[in-house]
Subunit: 423 residues, 2 copies
Amino acid sequence: MATTAASVAEICAGAKRASRELARLDTVTKNAAIGAMADALEARVDEILEANARDMEAGREAQLDASLLDRLLLTRERVAGIARDARRIVALPDPVGEVISGYRMYNGLDLRQVRVPLGVVAVVYEARPNVTIDCTALCLKSGNAIVLRGSSTALHSNTVLASIASEAVSAAGLPDGAVSLVAGGGRDELREIATQEGIVDLIIPRGGEGLKAALKEHAKVPVIYAASGNCHVYVDESADLDDAVAITLNAKVQRPSVCNAAETLLVHSSIAPSFLPRALGELRESGVELRVDERTRSFAGELADSLNEAAEADWATEYHALILAVKVVDSADEAIEHVNRYTSGHSDAVVTQSQEVARAFTSGVDTACVYVNASTRFTDGGEFGMGAEIGNSTQKLHARGPIGLRELCTYKYVVEGSGQVRE
Amino acid sequence: MATTAASVAEICAGAKRASRELARLDTVTKNAAIGAMADALEARVDEILEANARDMEAGREAQLDASLLDRLLLTRERVAGIARDARRIVALPDPVGEVISGYRMYNGLDLRQVRVPLGVVAVVYEARPNVTIDCTALCLKSGNAIVLRGSSTALHSNTVLASIASEAVSAAGLPDGAVSLVAGGGRDELREIATQEGIVDLIIPRGGEGLKAALKEHAKVPVIYAASGNCHVYVDESADLDDAVAITLNAKVQRPSVCNAAETLLVHSSIAPSFLPRALGELRESGVELRVDERTRSFAGELADSLNEAAEADWATEYHALILAVKVVDSADEAIEHVNRYTSGHSDAVVTQSQEVARAFTSGVDTACVYVNASTRFTDGGEFGMGAEIGNSTQKLHARGPIGLRELCTYKYVVEGSGQVRE
């Protein structure tokens, strides 16, 4: 277990060596190791809780706010949940070895494009110690070695979790170096990981804007960034009113702190008189602050006085809170244009009964996940049937949307012949 | 045609606007535009040759070397060849709209993962004016707008070629901004393109190490780098001797200046006595300089005195010339280890009759294209049946190996429902 005095470069080199072996392992061996890790977590729960108690105490002393402390906290139930989530990864199909395409070339060469692990995946994260195990299970299942760098706030918890994981998978036959935690959660370690060119194959940041900014400044190895989500719901003139209200409410209110929650509501002017008073009323009843343009206010009836004025910045803001910006538009095209101007490319929805509008919206909106008559809240590896996700990408290259087992892989071309040479 | 006084930012913004329309175009319209571009090239060949003559004259005055001048030169035949290559792109299947995966979710939502254009692709390149048209045809077919930045050496040629392309595709109904050339081939323009975050979706560099280094320093938008190829041929103890000699010769000699040519030959010690004297003799006869380890020399018989000594640096060098490094190994595992240490991840081959060795090599070697009993020279979009390539990636993310029409796309999830909300 490489949490001791080994340098970051040594840890990454060890992970690279391990990755060569991991890439060749069969599914049964990988599944057994992940299962052994889950068992070990439950067997050693007391150690975990003890370490976590030290982090919690330090956190309280440092006066971390309540929500951070809650994210840091582990309980017997939460550890059982982490083990259960790992066992779910066991049940997922192995992405390694999948033939993406294959054919015989004109000269008799047999070509296969085969899914293979990336190699070494580094996950840099803040608080939430469960990430240690979730990401380890996903990386091992996809044949990758993992290098973890958590935050200093959760150092004791992460150290014990990573030790348990590393020991359990080694005992189950995985190579040393398959799971490593970089001791210390500082920016120096981050910079060192981010410059291991040719060794670390991918960095996945799970944390706030400061973490991403540090990576953008220093990273020489590939990073998949997840923008938070500035998500939209557009209610078209042809929308079913009940669906439109239910989807708007769900997208905003069901869990406002997450990145697939809606931040802006766009409403076609034809449906505004019937839709807006009802929708705004229900949103207000759910405690949502509304920031609206002038036309929205004109349709709001007796609610008009309770609405705030939207400023330009509101269209671009991801509140992650019970706040919604609302604007009236005169056409689906205007809605599409607005979305393309302001979306962070995460999830955007249209509510419409028009096939033409649905097609225009799904093909015209440049975003990872486009919804027709459904809430934006479904963007999630688990909901999508990918079993779990290590993050959610708003980039267009490699992975877009939930990052699951397949997205933790690359491919290679394997070309087999009988002596072919090029003319 | 945006070769005039428009700023780089304006050109890229225009390309972004065009990309929204291009993404929705049907295949027939895109094909007609590419065909019209090919026709226009032939109809306006005199203009092209006149502009090229000015570049050639300036190149001779600047005392460019002969190979650079040859790459710059356009002739009537070469222009006809460029038009023919563009028409080949017309014949390829359209990648846009392809459903990569799709299923009904547990709650009745219908999910499709659909291939869509990236948006704006910038190609930055040196010399070879044919790149202007090749890359334009590939980008338009895949629904992307293209921003071209050629080198100042070919400015007159590129300007005319891009004008002809832009005018022809506009006349065929494509939006203005679909094809743009950034005037001036300087590093300032490169830096400006490379920092158009959210506007330029991908940069593909086609040029030397200086160009790549400049991008690595400045790029804020995604870049797919193509390393040159340090490619290997490993001749296993079980190799068919005739195949081994033919493949080695072909991989080294057939076109030594390209990135899929072999730079290092690894030979199992058991087959070295029968293979090496013959292979080294034929390589010498083809004018290949041989840089060998001591064991190779010991098997070389009367050729021993004509061999140079390999230094450590030779294993890592991409000669792109008639030079080959040669080393004897004692096992397939040693060969795999050597390859993984030195390969640039482009193309590596094993010659073997052993199924076990073939499997070990193809799964163990971490490279884009692995060959069994075939020359490394087949790594090429055209050879692979992808029709053409815009480059060749040695990265692991997004695209690995030849970058064709599919690799110029991303995907989005389109999720259609009937009012589903998340519980």
